[in-house]
Subunit: 180 residues, 2 copies
DNA sequence: ACTGCTTATACAACGGATTGCGCAGGCACA
DNA sequence: TGTGCCTGCGCAATCCGTTGTATAAGCAGT
């Protein structure tokens, strides 16, 4: 139960709309904590009721109006309390990995195809993270060092995954050759 | 929705009780797909109703009786169908990482303490995986190559995390020194 | 003109997942 | 003797999360 805290962390530096937050969850933080916009809007509603965040209504033309949320003192206090408590253990849910574990039953061609797609995606993400990291390295204010760490995690993660993918490819291609 | 498939994958090689599965979810596969015993028992019940698995009742003395589950042909067919379909995207939920992202607010000492604990845990896990991998390398039957890949993923993942942890430590210690 | 993407918010329904509780006996340690 | 941990199974309540649907307007491409 701490989508709320992830949201509060993001609101620490900037005022943002639900939509803004959804985009951030799809990128940097998304590697480590994911949420859909419905969840985010719901949670923002609750956080607002509990006075952890406040928002101001911003009319726009051309685009729909938006609500810009900012963290309150109460929200910041809650964040600090949470930071002090030990974190919940990390959870992962990677269906492709489960597939590889059960790989003996699968046909290697299909898995190889899927592997290629995933490699492609991960490479793109890696490039994004690296670009963002370079941006951050130029400007160095306040907690940019911590944001940089977030990106470093993403980078190391993608690299590790890609290295693993090459090992998987070898095994799959080998299985393929032995079948024919 | 595929805890069911993770279970079927595990039952591919061996007959197992709910308790056995729970332990496996806590270890090797657990890195990539986690589930509590309640979930597992529930899912085993459903899988049994749908004839994807069958079980035999094994009385024990000293210990409570157990149910040893095995996969059926229907279960194997369902697994193969699932393996053909594209996998759901990987999801991660790492609270400690969120903490680091919001690190500017936290006091570095507490985070450093937590970091040490996590490093300890990860190192232990790494040692376990490496030991298991060495075991598997000696004996090489059927799908042991795929099991080996599972372990390799675990190993690469821990290594990447530990490398990242060192970067985090540097930043945290630096923040600490600038405060005093 | 039509399709699809982007910005923006939100409700409703369902199913998946966690948390809490309960039972049951054995073994180890203080 | 008490405490806590391990083996084993399971129900109930609640909460989290996903999917589907809705509205609304602009902009880009075919």
């Amino acid at each position: 139960m701490s989508l709320r805290h992830a949201i509060l962390v993001l609101l620490q530096d900037e005022e943002a709309s639900g939509y803004d937050l959804a985009r951030e969850f799809a990128n940097s933080i998304g590697l480590v904590w994911n949420a859909t916009h419905q969840q985010i809007y719901l949670e923002l509603g609750k956080l607002n009721e509990q006075n952890m965040v406040h928002y101001r209504h911003v009319p726009q033309d051309g685009k729909p109006d938006k609500k810009l949320y900012r963290i309150t003192d109460e929200g910041r206090q809650e964040l600090v309390r949470w930071l002090r408590r030990p974190a919940a253990p990390a959870r992962v849910r990677d269906a492709f990995m489960v597939k590889v574990a059960g790989g003996a039953l699968a046909d290697p061609e299909t898995l190889l195809g899927e592997l290629d797609q995933l490699v492609q995606q991960r490479k793109e993400r890696l490039a994004n993270f690296e670009a963002e990291a370079r941006k951050l390295e130029r400007q160095s204010e306040g907690n940019s060092r911590f944001q940089h760490l977030t990106l470093r995690r993403g980078i190391l993660d993608q690299e590790a995954w890609l290295a693993w993918a090459e090992e998987v490819r070898e095994v799959l291609e080998d299985t393929l050759n032995h079948q024919h």
